[in-house]
C-alpha cells in the first residue's frame, strides 16, 4: 500500500515547544508578594524545552507511529496536533476532524456515568446530541461495558476507561485518530479488537498517529515510525509490510 501521492493532512514544520513550569514559579500569592524581583529570574530558569525543531508530514490514510523514551515529548506532540496546547515556534497544519486525545485517563468526568460521558464527549467533539444518539448503541456495544455504562466513571477500572475512551473516539467519525498508549491497559482480547478496528478505519481513509512502546505492535500496524529522543526527531523509517497481510 503506497500513500505517496495522498494529500498531506498533518504538516508539522520546525516545531518548538517550551513548557514554563508555572507551579515552580508561583505556588501562592505569598510568593508573588514576597519574592517579586526573583520571579523574573525564576521565569528564565523554569523553562523547559520539550520539542526541538520537529518536522514531519502525515498523509491521508497513513498510520504514523511515534516511539521514544519516557519523557521524550510524544504526548506533548500529540497534544499540539490535537490543538489543546500551542507551540512557541513553528507551524502545525491539520486538515479534518480530530478525535479526542486517547491516552490513559481519557477525557471523562469521573462523577458522571458512562452514558453521560459519551454524550458530553460527543458534544465537545462538535456533534449534536442527535448525531451522538445515532451511534450510542454501537459505542456501548464495542466497549463491552454492559450495565456499567450507567455507573459513574470513577468506579471503572483503568482498562474499562480505556475501552470507553477508544470506543467513543472511533465511533465519532474522526478524520484523524490520536492514540497514545491506551491499548497498553486493555486486555489481550480488547487490544486485538482495537487493532482490528484501527485496520478497518485505516482502510476507510482515517489517518492515525499512534504512540506505543511496543515495537511489535507498531510494526504490525504502522506505515512509518518516527523516533524521538529528548525532543528531537532522530529517524523516520518506512515499515515494509510485504504482501503477507497479518491475520489478527
Amino acid at each position: 500500500m503506497s500513500e505517496k501521492n495522498q494529500e498531506v493532512v498533518i504538516e508539522v514544520k520546525n516545531l518548538w515547544k517550551t513548557y514554563v513550569l508555572y507551579h515552580h514559579i508561583v505556588t501562592s500569592f505569598k510568593e508573588v508578594v514576597l519574592h517579586f524581583p526573583r520571579l523574573f529570574k525564576k521565569l528564565r530558569q523554569s523553562r523547559f524545552e520539550v520539542l526541538k525543531d520537529v518536522t514531519f508530514e502525515v498523509r491521508k490514510g497513513e498510520v504514523f507511529g511515534i516511539m521514544g523514551h519516557n519523557g521524550a515529548g510524544k504526548s506533548t506532540l500529540l497534544a499540539l496536533i490535537a490543538g489543546v496546547i500551542k507551540p512557541d515556534r513553528g507551524t502545525i497544519k491539520v486538515k479534518g476532524r480530530i478525535s479526542p486525545l486517547l491516552e490513559l485517563g481519557a477525557g471523562f468526568h469521573p462523577e458522571l456515568t458512562g452514558r453521560e460521558n459519551i454524550i458530553l464527549n460527543g458534544l465537545l467533539l462538535g456533534m449534536t446530541k442527535r448525531e451522538i444518539m445515532q451511534r450510542f448503541d454501537e459505542i456501548v456495544e464495542f466497549s463491552e461495558l454492559g450495565h456499567f455504562i450507567e455507573e459513574p466513571i470513577r468506579i471503572y477500572s483503568s482498562g474499562m476507561v480505556a475501552r470507553l475512551g477508544f470506543s467513543v473516539a472511533v465511533h465519532t467519525d474522526p478524520d484523524i485518530l490520536l492514540v497514545d498508549e491506551v491499548l497498553a491497559v486493555g486486555d489481550a482480547n480488547f487490544q486485538q479488537k482495537c487493532l482490528r478496528k484501527m485496520e478497518e478505519l485505516r482502510n476507510n481513509g482515517v489517518t492515525m498517529v499512534f504512540v506505543s512502546h511496543s515495537r511489535t505492535q507498531m510494526e504490525a500496524i504502522c506505515n512509518r515510525i518516527m523516533t524521538i529522543d529528548h525532543g528531537r526527531v532522530v529517524s523516520i523509517e518506512e515499515i515494509n509490510r510485504h504482501a503477507e497481510e497479518k491475520t489478527c
Binding site: 513548557y19 507551579h23 508561583v26 497534544a79 490543538g83 496546547i85 477525557g107 465537545l124 462538535g126 442527535r130
Partner: protein, 259 residues
C-alpha cells in the same frame, strides 16, 4: 452578527443544555434536600439579620423582612456565581486536556445553573409580596432586563475568576475574603439612606452590586425606578463582562498545560 445554521443552533443548544445539566447533577449528587439548601442559606441569613437588626439594633426600615430577602437573594446570586466560577475550569481539567472545544461554555453553563437557582428563589419573593399586600407595578417589566444585566456581570466575573484560579489556586481564599468584605460594604442589610453622604460615592455609585440591589428593591417593594442607577448598572456590567472575557481569552491557551 454571526449567522448560525440550523445545525449550529441545534449544536450550541445541546452543548449548553448538557453542560448545565451536568453542573446541576454534580452539585446535588448525593444531597437529599438538593435545591432546598440553596434556599435555606439566604433564608437563614435573613432570619439572623432580622433578629439582630430589627429587634436588637432597632433599624428603621419598613417591611424589613422583604427588604432583606430581596437584597440577600440578589447578593447570593452574585456570590454563588463567583464561587462556582472558581471551579468552572479547574474541575474540568480532564476534558480540557483532551479535546479542543470552546472552553467558554464551561463558564456559561455554571452561570446558567446559578441563574436557574435565582429564578426559583425569586419565586418565593412573591409569597412575601402577598403577605405584605404589595401589588405588582408596571416597573416589573424591568425585572427581566435587570436579570439579564446582572447575568452579564456575573458571567464576566466568572470568566475572570475561573481563568485566574487555574494559575493561582489561592484565588479561592482571596475570593472568600473579598466577598465577605464586599457583602458588608454593600447596602444589603442596611438601607442606602443610612450611609453618610461622603461615603455614598464609594459604597453606592462605584459599586454595581449596590446598584443592582437598590434597583430590585425599588421595582419590587417601592414601585419606582432610578434611571441613573439603571444606566450605571448597565455600564458596569458591560465593563466587567468585557474585562473578564478578555482575560479568559488570553489565558485559555495555557489551561491544558497547567491543569
Amino acid at each position: 452578527m454571526i449567522s448560525l445554521t440550523t445545525r449550529q443552533w441545534e449544536y450550541y443548544r445541546d452543548l449548553i443544555f448538557e453542560l448545565t445539566n451536568k453542573e446541576l447533577k454534580l452539585k446535588y449528587k448525593s444531597s437529599m434536600l438538593g435545591f432546598v439548601w440553596s434556599l435555606l442559606l439566604p433564608f437563614s441569613h435573613a432570619l439572623v439579620y432580622f433578629v439582630a437588626f430589627k429587634y436588637i439594633l432597632r433599624i428603621k426600615v419598613e417591611n424589613y423582612a422583604l427588604f432583606l430577602i430581596v437584597g440577600l437573594f440578589v447578593w447570593q446570586w452574585f456570590a454563588n456565581s463567583i464561587l462556582a466560577g472558581t471551579g468552572a475550569v479547574l474541575s474540568n481539567g480532564n476534558l480540557i486536556k483532551k479535546t479542543r472545544f470552546p472552553y467558554e461554555f464551561l463558564v456559561i453553563a455554571v452561570i446558567i445553573s446559578e441563574w436557574l437557582h435565582f429564578i426559583l428563589a425569586f419565586v418565593t419573593i412573591f409569597i412575601f409580596l402577598a403577605v405584605y399586600g404589595i401589588p405588582p407595578t408596571i416597573y416589573w417589566i424591568f425585572i427581566p432586563f435587570l436579570m439579564l444585566m446582572q447575568s452579564v456581570m456575573n458571567l464576566g466575573s466568572a470568566f475572570l475568576v475561573s481563568s485566574i484560579t487555574v494559575f493561582f489556586r489561592d484565588m479561592v481564599w482571596f475570593i472568600n475574603i473579598f466577598l465577605n468584605m464586599f457583602f458588608y460594604l454593600t447596602p444589603i442589610i442596611y438601607p442606602i439612606e443610612m450611609i453618610p453622604d461622603r461615603l455614598k460615592i464609594f459604597i453606592v455609585d462605584a459599586n454595581p452590586m449596590a446598584l443592582f440591589v437598590a434597583l430590585y428593591r425599588q421595582i419590587i417593594i417601592y414601585g419606582t425606578i432610578d434611571y441613573v442607577y439603571l444606566s450605571l448598572a448597565v455600564v458596569y456590567s458591560i465593563v466587567v463582562f468585557l474585562f473578564g472575557w478578555r482575560v479568559f481569552a488570553k489565558l485559555k491557551w495555557k489551561f491544558a498545560e497547567v491543569l
